[in-house]
Symmetry: C2
Subunit: 371 residues, 2 copies
């Protein structure tokens, strides 16, 4: 018997678009040798964060501070802003859900890039918004089209990731600033900067918390190596930030994660070290691509989109071969971006596994398609 | 300039009804000597969970399994049900938010007890539902009125906590079963059993996952001593459980918390030990109440409502005196329940502090009111 669920719930698909590597491991009945598919940081969290997590484990009987007071102070220092301009949440995923809820009513327009972050789309669908998806333009987010459609459709939100996922490309700061200036005031610009820690600060736009229609999303899941801790934050005008407090799960944050994030922010050396190791790892991945006669997309993130040379079906076959051979990687959803597989920076061991198995995966795909 | 927020967001208050003890500590500029106000478990998590948290800290660079696969298997064992009947989320708080979102559209009716869990009300307000609040009846949730109003109003949800918070009373299983039978099929019964681990299993209703309009909420925040880990779960019919997957934050769970919860479920001795320590601690609190000429409400939880003998203003004064004197406690919001303060089970040290300072807090309140 059907219960009185909302119209939206009844209309949503029951299928889940997100498959975790653990699900694949259960299906394959073995563990991956290399987990380089979710853009996690194999280089792990700061040793200072690790120490805090161990020291504070026994304090986990207490709820975390619902205000995230101390964490916001450290984040404020990093960006030279005030705590009132920061909202902390259960990863950027959680914050995107709140943002969409704050703005999107059924049939409201939302603009994004086709093939960019699916969790944003998941939330928009979850509130019955209408997604207008702009194709990538030569592997870059097409800011000109995103802004012109924003002017035309007056969407509640326009979503831009920079550097973007899954291609890893970066729109420079003058392009981003021009885009921000073009978007109508009544559209909220959600600038997802999950990978911004891999870009030199000088290459990012200045932080302007006076702009009421801009929110910038950051995370501890990538460069800080704390994906499993679930800590993201948004930076914006205090009026926008305030609205999160009306609806967020105030006691949603893990107490030890709060401490770990604070410790991470204080460990500049670890962050620098991770960024340097990521660069080295991507360089090796680039070399592996070249050695296998593959192109790659220059990346400003901790992952590399490797062009397998044919279409999406071919790349999917390469991906499946890698997965069944112990290498967890992912790939873009849209054409022509899905000519690529997306490989995260890895340890030397991860990269060695990939170097060894990628040629075989390519070769078997070519045999399969008779190329 | 006002942005295009939803009508609901614009209508919600910007004030936050939840004050954490950390906020009070910042205001008082000192730490509490006893933190016995949020019904956390001062006895902490299982040593096995502690070990896992330390061992797995370095794995926190990985996202948690979005399916909570292994955790659901352990939960399923505990209740002798299937994984398909379980949803895991960011505390009961998070799950209540999802449940309300699944069911409540603007102006839909929802029935609850006046003065029971405010976070449930927060979510109902957050989706513009209309709350019908039934008063407590002699410190018990009034199941007869809750069911008769459910028949009359056909609400989307009727919320019952058992044992309830903030009074700690328990409606026995025949009463609860009769209530469930009375509620119309098209109303979802949300049975919040956060404190059920303190009640003998035989005193709880059987688990019936065939009943499509019932969800039972459980948590690791109370008896399991993992409040800061943010892990709750719901038990229900698979159709109901399925709907959570349409909207929940799939990657919302802390990876180490997942492991800690699994380890906790396997440590039956720790759970038994905590329950026994809680009983002893409540016994001492009862004795302290009696020694101070106060009544108390017999509790089936890990906290005790101590009747300060006068009205809400008086109890609030006692509470303020305790707080400014280093003891964190809370109190009910509604009259006449607010004649009480609510004191959580504590360590011997916590209880000694309370024993020492409660008489002074009472005395000063009497002087203040000239009683």
């Amino acid at each position: 018997m059907a219960k009185n669920y909302t119209k939206i719930i009844n209309s949503l698909p029951s299928s889940v678009p997100f498959v975790g590597p653990e699900t694949q491991e259960r299906l394959l009945d073995k563990q991956f040798d290399s987990r380089i598919g979710a853009n996690e940081s194999v280089f792990g969290p700061s040793p200072k964060a690790l120490k805090v997590m161990k020291d504070e484990a026994s304090s986990l009987w207490m709820y975390g501070d619902p205000e995230n007071f101390d964490l916001k102070i450290e984040i404020a220092k990093k960006h030279n802003i005030k705590s009132e301009n920061i909202v902390v949440g259960e990863g950027i995923d959680g914050l995107l859900g709140y943002l969409v809820r704050m703005l999107v009513e059924p049939n409201d327009n939302v603009v994004t890039t086709d093939g960019s972050y699916p969790t944003f789309n998941y939330h928009v669908n979850g509130y019955a918004g209408i997604l207008k998806k702009i194709p990538f333009k030569e592997d870059f987010e097409d800011l000109a089209s995103l802004s012109s459609f924003s002017k035309k459709l007056r969407p509640k939100i326009v979503y831009v990731s920079n550097p973007n996922n899954p291609m890893g490309t970066f729109n420079n700061k003058s392009e981003i600033q021009a885009f921000i200036n073009e978007v109508p005031d009544d559209t909220i610009i959600c600038l997802d900067e999950a990978y911004a820690d891999f870009v030199p600060d000088d290459d990012l736009i200045d932080i302007n918390v006076n702009q009421e229609n801009l929110i910038r999303m950051r995370t501890f899941s990538k460069a800080y190596g704390l994906a499993g801790a679930r800590i993201g934050y948004g930076i914006g005008h205090k009026n926008l930030i305030n609205n999160f407090d009306k609806i967020r799960n105030h006691f949603g944050m893990n107490r030890v994660s709060q401490f770990a994030a604070i410790a991470s922010l204080k460990d500049h050396n670890h962050l620098k070290d991770v960024i340097s190791r990521v660069k080295n790892s991507l360089k090796k991945l680039e070399e592996i691509a070249i050695k296998n006669d593959c192109k790659f997309v220059k990346s400003s993130t901790n992952f590399l989109a490797i062009d397998c040379g044919y279409d999406g079906l071919f790349a999917k076959k390469v991906l499946d071969n890698l997965i069944s051979n112990g290498i967890f990687v992912r790939m873009p959803f849209t054409s022509p971006e899905n000519r690529c597989i997306r490989v995260s920076a890895g340890t030397d061991e991860d990269i060695n596994f990939f170097e060894e198995r990628f040629p075989k995966a390519l070769k078997e795909a070519k045999i399969f398609f008779n190329y």
